[in-house]
């Protein structure tokens, strides 16, 4: 169905990717605006998009500080979760005993309600940075540990046998086979982790913070400044999406082989998808 002339006039790939979500977002904003204006609801119940942006701009000085605090907590939490997740994954991979011992506990740790444990962490560790960082770690290390462990377990045993037949040491097998083959799964886990990380930090601040986006949201809510609440949510989303895109870009750079192996792009040109 794609003759050559049609093929040549097709818009570039990035535009084809970006257009559908952009269209939907614009439509959603227009609908929101129309609903807010037509319904005649008070702005503390449903502000218009323009009011939300204006409210954010007015409080930009406090917001800037809040964003910085939240980002620091997120970054610290992610960093610790990374180290922790990889360590646990490696431990589970090296020892079947540890794998059996840790796996159920890992899963159980994710069934604990963050909202229930967050106030406890505040009681134990105060209103500072630490409890928020712990919450981010709690949320993020699980997808990292599980995906990395699965990635390590997925390496082809025949490949390992081949390298062993060439006289490779255990360490060389790790470096040449195990680690590279675990990377795609690791990055999938990382993408999930960074998406949740910002929300994790704001939950901590909401429950008991002296700074940050969560606190800004809480205060705005208490003051019935609904437009500010919306704006803070917007910022949280933008930060999360930004992190997601950053990880995606790093992944593309780090794993060129993985993306070149996906033939879907070639097939797409034929229009069978």
């Amino acid at each position: 169905m794609s003759d050559s002339t049609e093929h040549r006039t097709r818009p570039p790939r990035w535009l084809r990717e970006a257009f559908p979500p952009a269209l939907l977002i614009v439509l959603a904003i227009l609908t929101w605006h129309a609903a807010a204006v037509e319904s005649g609801l008070a702005s503390f119940i449903l502000p218009t998009p323009a009011q939300v942006i204006a409210a954010g701009w007015e409080t930009r000085a406090i917001l800037g500080q809040a964003i910085l605090t939240t980002m620091i907590e997120t970054a610290l939490g992610l960093g610790i979760a990374l180290a922790f997740g990889i360590l646990i994954a490696a431990a589970m991979d090296l020892s079947p005993f540890l794998r059996r011992a840790l796996y159920p506990i890992l899963v159980a740790s994710q069934t604990v309600q963050i909202l229930a444990i967050a106030p406890l962490l505040i009681i134990w560790f105060g209103f500072g940075l630490l409890p928020k960082v712990i919450i981010v770690v709690l949320i993020c290390f699980f997808p990292l540990a599980v995906s990395t462990a699965d990635g390590l377990a997925s390496s082809d045993p025949d490949l390992i046998a081949l390298l062993r037949s060439m006289g490779a040491s255990r360490g060389q097998v790790w470096r040449m086979v195990r680690l590279p083959s675990a990377l795609p799964a690791f990055f999938s886990g990382l993408r999930v982790a960074v998406t949740y990380s910002v929300v994790g930090a704001t939950i901590g601040e909401w429950v008991g913070g002296s700074q940050g986006l969560g606190l800004y949201m809480l205060r705005s809510k208490n003051a019935l400044a609904t437009d500010q609440v919306f704006f803070a949510m917007l910022i949280t989303s933008v930060l999360s999406i930004g992190l997601f895109v950053l990880v995606y870009l790093i992944e593309r750079l780090a794993l060129p082989w993985y993306y070149s192996a996906q033939r879907k792009e070639q097939w797409e040109e034929t229009g069978i998808f």
Binding site: L162, R164, S165, M166, G167, A168, V177
Partner: protein, 254 residues
Amino acid sequence: MTIPKVELKQVSKAFHGNGTTVQALADVSLRVMEGEFVTVIGPSGSGKSTLFNLIVGLLDPDSGDICLDGDVCANRAGRVGYMPQRDLLLPWRSALDNAIIPLELAGMSRDEAREKARAMLPMFGLEAFADSYPAALSGGMRQRAALLRTILTERDILLLDEPFGALDALTRRDLQDWLLKVWGRFGQTVIFITHDVEEALYLGDRVIVLSARPGRVVKSLTVELDRPRRRGMIAGGAFGRQMAELLEALGVTV
């Protein structure tokens, strides 16, 4: 008397699992001399791959001895170049970087290894694909890259396990002739597993026939074809007669 390059003395190997015991090889004795090209055929499940894993040193026999060069019996790992059925190229390494793995394992620097391997690419028809990832290579190219990797182990014994089994008939024929050319150049001792009788006869100096499980040597046939081999020989009388002999040994009614 010269020492055989590879010698198996009454080797038996069984696998245990799921409450059953599978006898893969029973009492296999085999001698391969230096520079010899020996092909091994047998029905599937006759323990051909087990035979290789034993020679390579990935497995140890339940009974019997395996010796390389007469005196290397216990620690065989890393002494033979082994090419398994699947090409097993690392998807995250380019064709060239896959080929240099054995050199890297031997402690050579990456740059030095690349230079050495690059010089051999034309012979393997890969000069235009040095930097391509395996996913972008055809089946034949992947096998050639895998063979280059095997050659670069720089071992004088090569074990090739059905290297052309997954290829189409045309590519396969090309690669058979090309393999003989490469072998003529390097002259290693080769043991080549196949399930294709014609391939076994066309390539080998000698053909070993294994029986169905448990694998035993039921025939060792010296091939009556001159070197270098030519395609036309397949149509000759000696080829047909020996092919019939091999099929008979495999239990096929001729």
